[in-house]
Amino acid sequence: MSADSLSGSWTHSYEEDDSADVQVYRPTHAFAFPPSRRGRETLEFGAGGQMIKGMPGPDDRQSKTGAALTSLGMNRYRLDGGQTPGRVIEIIASEPDLLKIRMP
């Protein structure tokens, strides 16, 4: 699985998280997310392994930071740049309507 196979905008469906470090994402525009005062993180995947992460900000608006994904094999990717450079994430499941990511 290459970084290019990840695309589109995904939003954290935190209610479905398996555990503290495994996060479930759903398609931002196709999934009916329940209303939530706690804002939801978003991941937008672009060409060339670019990832933009949106975090709920202090005014409840998203603050976005970009990072580059470098494939390490075994569905693992290293984040270069962004807020946590060097962090390694693992794509546990990638389906049209589901993205499950281990973020240790």
Binding site: T28, P35, S36, R38, G39, D59, D60
Partner: protein
């Protein structure tokens, strides 16, 4: 970020007490609601908008009933922010508006990218952010409830955005976000409040820059139970019931004192141009006053001419619905009360010696005693009139036996010119003076002269105009005392009845008198007695008169037109034996009091959507009241509350007695 840094430094100086609030009263902020909808249900109703404004006015004034669910250790911190909100009545071009604009958009759901804030991207443009709070209501994607923009950001996107299903309390509002608290939270941000946990994830190092909110780990959700301890903040734990946490609507109930200091710093600083001082526009004294939201104090005379008092405390009438607190005295004027602050009342009457007497409620007890009075000298004709243009400030006006106007004042520490002395202000007045203050250190006095024309004088902060003893003639042949109100700075509306019994109106718009210096706008009707006028918001007037059938009639100015028409009146039933007395303790709230043929007090109210108990019905409030209207005269029998006929001449005044005013 330099602007944000400066805002933060200023906020911290307020928080530390190095700077104090310049806005000492209540600030009322005009709101423009931009409804941007895709599907028809998202086009939220005017009623849903109104329900949101009502929530804001409760939450920011600490009059939300659920504030009492605040756990005891935090309850003393729950603070009135002294901020109110009102739908804009004037658009940026000066035209009338209801404060709501609407547009259908092809965008199914917006994200937090501000597209709803621009016409070119499917939304509606912001109104000038230095005058209005812009509030966008729209569908938001991803379950987002809303978001804000901190002060100091771009003007074109300044304001708050609220998910339509989390807006207000009716219509599309959906649990658990159906109590309007999303807007309370976002407007908190707009007034420079941070999330209560400090926006540092779940760490204990972040701060909300407010000292009286406990250090807290991460955000809370749902409806936690007390205590919820994090960051070693026991035993009381997180202030999770704060509007700036992430709990459900039903679980957030308060702002802290430190948060209020930050919001007021924002209003004095970066948002200094917005809002009007709601508390600065003071009416003349009345037997019925409110010192705060959901509070009413009514003063009447009984058949023994003693003073009696009853009050509404937000949940019930004291001492009972039909009961009264006896306050002593033998009074010869209608009691006149004003309030210069929360839980403060000053009441003035004249005694059988025609001298002025004063008593006051200081929040804890009556001074000089429950049934005692402070003697203030003078020989007064008719009712004293009092206005307070600031905290701990009183200006008292009376007519002397020579029918000239006299003035005395309380400056916070002393009575001027002396406890029992008066300043002579000239004139020969018939009827009662009316005083209104449209701002700090500003007084406008209206009297009727012996020519029955309306006359005006004013205090501009440094001197009396046109002179200490002079008056500006404003024309007319008046058959009632003038009644005036100021709905905004440098705005005056004056009402009198004419020789045909009709109501007449003139106004000062800040530059000139309308319709002309000596002209009046005729407003129809055949009025018995004196009109009553109140204003519950900018560019809003409500008028009440008694008709020849002794029923109550109502008309109103909504910012654009007179309702039900320029010369028409809404019939409100009743057989009234006093002039109506009306007070408004909040936007879109009216409380009307009259006496009936049984001399008991009767009450009706407008709650923002309907008249209670009904359009023509009244709540019985007991008592046998001998004085509740302006023209009570001691030589009349105790039943002298019979309505005056619509006689074209002003009521006769008591003949002068030898003793002049105390100024001599």
């Amino acid at each position: 970020m330099r602007a944000r840094d400066q805002i933060e430094m200023q906020a911290q100086r307020y928080e530390l007490g190095e700077l104090s609030n310049e806005r000492t009263g209540v600030t009322r902020i005009p709101v423009i609601v931009h409804v941007v909808w895709n599907t028809a249900p998202q086009n939220v109703s005017d009623a849903q908008v109104t329900s949101q404004i009502e929530v804001l006015n409760r939450d920011f004034r600490r009059t939300n009933p659920d504030v009492n669910t605040t756990p005891a250790p935090f309850l003393p911190l729950a603070t009135d922010s002294r901020i109110e909100f009102v739908l804009a009545s004037t658009d940026p071009n000066g035209a009338a508006t209801n404060g709501i604009e609407r547009r259908q958009t092809s965008t199914a759901a917006f994200t937090a990218n501000d597209a709803m804030k621009s016409f070119g991207t499917g939304g509606l443009n912001a109104w000038p952010q230095n005058q209005y709070l812009n509030l966008w209501v729209c569908p938001l994607a991803g379950g987002l409830l809303g978001y804000a923009q901190f002060p100091g950001g771009p003007a074109a996107t300044d304001g708050v955005v609220i998910q339509q299903s989390a807006f207000g309390t009716v219509g599309t509002a959906t649990a658990p976000f159906n109590l309007g608290r999303t807007a309370t939270h976002e407007i908190g941000h707009w007034l420079n409040l941070n999330h209560i946990w400090g926006d540092d994830g779940t760490g204990c190092s972040g701060t909300d820059n407010v000292a009286d909110t406990p250090n807290q780990g991460g955000y809370n959700t749902g409806a936690p139970t007390f205590p919820r301890v994090s960051c070693s903040n026991g035993p009381n734990g997180d202030m999770y019931m704060n509007y700036m946490d992430y709990v459900d609507d039903r679980a957030m109930v308060m702002f802290s004192a430190g948060q209020v200091a930050r919001m007021q710093a924002c209003l004095d600083g970066v948002r200094s141009s917005i809002g009007v001082a709601a508390g600065a526009n003071r009416r003349s004294s009345s037997p019925v006053v409110d010192w705060g939201p959901n509070r009413i104090d009514a003063f009447v005379l009984g058949t023994d001419r003693a003073l009696y008092h009853k009050w509404w405390n937000g949940s019930s009438w004291g001492p009972s619905v039909t009961g009264y607190e006896a306050m002593g005295g033998i009074c010869t004027s209608v009691p006149q009360a004003v309030s210069w602050g929360a839980n403060r009342l000053d009441v003035f009457v004249t005694g059988t010696d025609s001298a002025l007497y004063h008593k006051w409620w200081n929040g804890a007890s009556w001074g000089p005693s429950v049934t005692g009075y402070e003697y203030m000298g003078g020989a007064c004709v008719g009712d004293p009139r009092i206005v307070s243009w600031d905290a701990n400030r009183l200006d008292v006006f009376v007519l002397g036996t020579n029918r000239a106007l006299y003035h005395k004042w309380w400056n916070g520490s002393n009575w001027g010119p002396s406890l029992t002395g008066y300043e002579y202000m000239g004139g020969t007045c018939v009827g009662q003076p009316e005083i209104v203050s449209w701002g700090p250190n500003r007084l406008d006095v209206f009297v009727i002269g012996t020519d029955r024309a309306l006359h005006h004088k004013w205090w501009d902060g440094s001197s009396w105009g046109p002179s200490v003893t002079g008056y500006e003639r404003l024309g007319g042949v008046c058959t009632s005392a003038p009644h005036a109100v100021a709905w905004g700075p440098n705005r005056l509306d004056v009402f009198v009845t004419g020789t045909d019994g009709a109501l007449y109106h003139k106004w000062w718009d800040g530059a000139s008198w309308g319709p002309s210096l000596t002209g009046f706008e005729r407003m129809g009707g055949i009025c018995v007695g004196e009109p009553e006028v109140v204003s519950w918001g900018p560019n809003r007037l409500d008028l009440f008169v008694i008709g020849t059938d002794s029923a109550l009639y109502h008309k109103w100015w909504n910012g654009a037109a007179w309702g039900p028409s320029l010369t028409g009146y809404e019939y409100m039933g009743g057989v009234c034996t006093s002039q109506p007395r009306v007070t408004s303790w909040a936007s879109n709230r009216l409380d009307v009091f009259v006496t009936g043929t049984d001399s008991a007090l009767y009450h009706k109210w407008w709650n923002g959507s309907a008249w209670g108990p009904s359009v023509t019905g009244y709540e019985y409030m007991g008592g046998v009241i001998s004085a509740f209207k302006t023209d009570f005269r001691p030589e009349q029998p105790a039943h002298g509350i019979d309505m005056p006929s619509a006689q074209p001449t002003p009521p006769a005044l008591p003949s002068p007695v030898a003793m002049g005013m105390g100024a001599s």
